[in-house]
Amino acid sequence: MSTKGYYGRMLEVNLSTGKIEKTRIPDRDIHMFLGGRGLGAKILYDRLKPGTDPLSAENILMFMAGPFVGYPIPSSSRTCVVTKSTRTSPVTKKYEHSSSLSYSNMGGFFGPELRYAGYDGLLVTGKADKPVYIHIEDDKVSIKNASKYWGMGTDEFDKTFHKDLGEDRHESCYIGPAGENQVPMACIINTAARAAGRGGTGCVMGSKMLKAIAVKGTAVPEVADLKKYNELLEKIRRSFMKKDENVMNWRYGGTANALASSSSNGTQAVKNYSEGTYSEIDKIGTEANRKKIWKRDFACYSCQLACKKSGFAKGAYGVQVHDGPEYETGTMMGANLMISDLNGLHKLIYDGDNYGIDIISAGNTIGFLMEAMERGDIDEDFLDGIKLSWGDVEGSLALLHKICKREGIGELAGQGVKALSERIGKNTSEYAIHVKGHELAAWNVPVGSSYWAITYATSNRGACHMNGGNTSGQDNACLRDSLGACSFASSWYKDEVHYRHILSAITGLEWSEEEFNKAGSRIFTMEKMFNYREGFRREDDTIPEKFFKNEFTHGDHKGAIVERDEFSKNLDNYYESRGWDKATSRPMENVLRDMDLNFTV
């Protein structure tokens, strides 16, 4: 009997041997790491040998559904994909294939359905010898031939696959051609648009020749204190149903609302992070999209914010029925490339999702190449004849396609800006905007740098905008990602409906504030120890040189820059607050012991 709120059961599928097992999750691991991202990190640490090649059969690909997932707790449907990253490497490689762990979570309905089928997570190892998909129907699990789907874009696949599965409602996630081609920055997609976008999740899935997972289930894990849980659920539902301004803003624009606000605050990635403000932002912001593109608002399971915007675009780039820009895609393929052509932007997003590529990394990479062209560090021959310049939709599309097909320059570009800058040389590393090999996302660094520089420098998956810029922010993100709760809704979960009270009602364990926060800290430290074992040190916790040298030239934040000394001091303080050694970044032994992470000492 497992802790209430969980099955205490993982589904394990080995695609090399075809073996399918249901394994117990030790109760102690559940209590220490909660589920989702945290439990995934623990499993990865336990089961991977240091230096494992992320594209080898040994790498583990996990789809983790935390203890909130499947319950109708508003905005708590997230599935966390955990694996060893294809994107990162330390400055000093301890092993040939040293890389960090990767976690990337996606909303939608997949995680809930996995829990209805009776599992807290799905763990995939091995490699199939032909394209396959995994079909899960409660206890019935099978590996099926997916040859007919290989090569299909995610949009067509989504339509075809679900038709083939029949009338019974299944949930699914899958890769596109980018994942099949093992492009390092490939991602995993569900509902044709939602993505576990970062850290090469789709590349790992492609390396296993796993096209898709389909799941449907009928169960639900018991809760310990149903009466208390019902009371809390009623309260939290009611607090969203007040439909205050915050709720309505999410529904109106989703994260795209930040396109305008971030630009005016000077925190947007513009022109490969050279600027924080984009003068043409209104052409691709919420209002423009409401007017020209968006048709419908969609929500993840039991979410009252409906931040997903489905649109219809028709113009020079044909017709696309697809998600319109949100903050990340709108910035990375828009402002960062100086693209304000809404139809062009929409086409870039559609193609990115359809190929199944991490649009953050792809947009960042195209921005890097635009800057390299402008500076004359590369020429059009380097880009297979593409005359790439700022604002160039055609050139960006051509590059995106090459990346996804690993064709010509796309082979190298698909490895990201670190690999590109190493090949090109000529100081291009200064404007290769990555940390540990993982590209930065759509939030720029210089304005509010004490927050953003630490956010990116210390993230355990390489540059990550969701990491949090201080210990408590990071620990809270760990907790949400482990429970399955969405960051966007976190502000509603306060006081009497705080996450920990809900977790207490579900599990029957009394989660004190102290123990709960400690769990968040433990999860972050667990991940750090995985990375430390691979050879990541303080020298890897840095930000690109550009931020120390380039001043914004316009906007309200003209002149903004990061002071090197200040960054270094902030990093010292950060390590101090974590109890990590300032020289090496290694968590101190007493800290590890205090967190019951003795096994990592």
Binding site: Y71, T191, V220, L226, K295, D297, C300, S302, A306
Partner: protein
């Protein structure tokens, strides 16, 4: 239609005209699509109606339906059960391009499900195993008399929405809307106001109830492709 009382604060006419916009004369209403004649000779029926423009596919309706209709006794007290969408009487179907179709029992006036039930009417009540409850007009199954032939489910799926499916445990027909005793929880909790418990003409067209058919109509309407 003018005489029909409003179900909520919003006038029914306004509600209808809003959801009808752009459908080329075809009014989309109910947890299914059908056309409504100008005036109804058959009276009205009170059922769940869906505003497809407002549904975001969050499936809160499935949760609250399964909580209310699967109550449990805890320390002698009857409380709402744990949400399980597989037990919900309302079900949201998702399609690509993005459209969500909540589907629930339409309380069809001609009830092909009851028509298909082979059980002899009860000498006193006149009820077959599947019958219409007098109070709320819901379709109810008498599990004592039901032979689990599932002719009702077949009729529903062939002629209407396909709402009736076998109960996974008993095999008896299940998933008919209970209207939660007159206070449908799906309507009460829908965060987007997409569901209404309202009166509609009893002789409305019931040809387009299947989620697939409705999805086609709505995709065409929303995305114009």
């Amino acid at each position: 239609m003018e005489e029909i009382k409003t179900a909520g604060k919003q006038s029914r006419r306004h509600f209808l005209s809003r959801i009808a916009a752009g459908t080329g004369g075809l009014l989309i209403l109910g947890s299914y699509g059908f056309s409504i004649k100008k005036d109804s000779k058959e009276g009205v029926i009170r059922a769940i109606a869906v505003d497809f423009e407002k549904c975001t596919g969050c499936r809160t309706c499935e949760s609250v339906c399964s909580e209310y209709n699967n109550k449990t006794i805890l320390n002698g007290e009857m409380i709402k059960g744990l949400s399980n969408p597989a037990k919900s009487n309302i079900r949201v179907y998702h399609f690509n391009p993005d459209v969500d179709i909540p589907s629930t029992c339409a309380l069809c006036k001609d009830a092909p499900c009851i028509e298909a039930c082979p059980v002899e009417p009860h000498p006193e009540t006149g009820h077959k195993a599947l019958y219409r409850d007098d109070k709320l007009n819901t379709i109810v199954n008498d599990t004592e008399r039901c032979i689990a032939c599932l002719n009702c489910a077949l009729a529903c799926s062939e002629k209407r929405a396909g709402v009736i499916r076998p109960d996974p445990v008993t095999g008896n027909p299940a998933f008919m809307c209970t209207l939660c005793g007159g206070n449908p929880q799906c309507v009460k909790y829908c965060p987007y106001g997409a569901l209404k418990y309202m009166e509609m003409p009893a002789d409305r067209n019931l040809d387009n109830l299947a989620p697939e058919k409705l999805a086609e109509i709505m995709i065409d309407k929303f995305y114009n492709v």
